[in-house]
């Protein structure tokens, strides 16, 4: 049997030659001063992120109400929840709302590849949205406290049991 050989190409050095040097630019190791400046950039965008996250949660709540009223199908709701929970997961922790990202992750896992919602599954979905609302409304940053930890554990247990 012949085995198709692959070629190992050397690293493309042109970009490195242009940018890497010993005098100007950023240190290879992140200095405390640059770290502080980068954190300031994140802080400056925090309020915009919070406003955007709140709008996404409002949209999710309106959509669950529309589903309850028979104006939105399970498939459409699940598609929307997948999209929004993915965005919330990616945004929350970036601005210090790690617990928000953790709840959104659980919700995103819960709706991934799901096609229908039974009564209990719909309630679990609503509980996630309510919990995220509280996090934003009360500005619960980092990983939250004991209560948030218990809420997260409860949501994860519900997802495990009713997926």
């Amino acid at each position: 049997m012949t085995v198709a050989k692959s070629k190992l190409l050397p690293p493309a050095e042109d970009l490195t030659q242009r940018a890497a040097n010993s005098t100007t630019g950023m240190d290879l190791r992140l200095s405390p001063g640059v770290l502080r400046r980068l954190e300031e950039v994140v802080n400056e965008s925090r309020e915009k992120f919070v406003v955007d996250l709140a709008a996404r949660l409002r949209k999710l709540r309106a959509s669950t109400q529309a589903r309850t009223d028979g104006q939105m199908s399970d498939v459409d709701l699940l598609k929307l929840v997948f999209e929004e929970s993915l965005q919330i997961k990616g945004m929350g922790g970036t601005i210090g709302y790690q617990v928000l990202s953790l709840i959104a992750t659980t919700l995103n896992d819960f709706v991934t590849e799901r096609q229908t919602l039974g009564r209990i599954q719909f309630e679990i979905l609503q509980l996630h949205i309510d919990a995220m609302y509280v996090v934003i409304a009360d500005r619960i940053t980092d990983n939250g406290g004991i209560l948030e930890d218990q809420v997260l554990s409860g949501l994860r247990a519900a997802v495990r049991k009713f997926s």
Partner: protein, 161 residues
């Protein structure tokens, strides 16, 4: 040996449908000394920039409905854009489950950073992909950075020239 990376002359392209996330990544790059940062909010916009402007480093989300960041990566690696086939590509995505990371790796991504990310991780990866370029593997099934990150003893057949 280089001790610094000057992003001044490096042209970046960020492709992310989430405008706030894209803006934040752009602002971080500008703070790190970059001057030219293109931002695209869809797959099609990204392809347009890659076709018309000189881009050195691509940062892309995987989730770019109705298309995908994986398609974008494959197009670059297959030489279907004007960009250098060996350009560094950083995936920044909330689709960070193991299977998505493996898919991105097998499409030829240079580095993967899971959203939400911290500024330290972002900095380390940006500096690393420019200062320490990786060797590439060119085979019938794969074109991309060498996926062997660790040097471990291997006694099997040699499949590389």
């Amino acid at each position: 040996m280089a001790e610094k990376v000057d992003f001044n002359g490096v042209h970046f392209l960020i492709v992310d449908g989430n405008a706030l996330s894209a803006d934040l990544a752009r602002d971080l790059l500008l703070t790190m000394g970059a001057v030219t940062v293109f931002v695209a909010h869809s797959f099609d916009e990204g392809i347009e920039v890659l076709g018309s402007d000189s881009v050195d480093v691509l940062l892309t989300e995987l989730h770019l409905p109705p298309r995908s960041g994986l398609e974008l990566i494959r197009m670059v690696r297959d030489g279907k854009t004007r960009a250098h086939k060996q350009m560094p590509i950083l995936v920044m995505s909330a689709m960070s489950a193991k299977e998505h990371v493996f898919e991105a790796r097998d499409a030829g991504v240079t580095e993967f950073i899971a959203k939400p990310y911290g500024v330290e991780g972002f900095y380390r990866r940006m500096v690393g992909i420019v200062a320490r370029p990786r060797a590439f593997v060119d085979s019938n099934e794969y074109f991309g950075p060498d996926r062997r990150r660790r040097q471990v003893p291997y006694n099997g057949p040699d499949r590389r020239d």
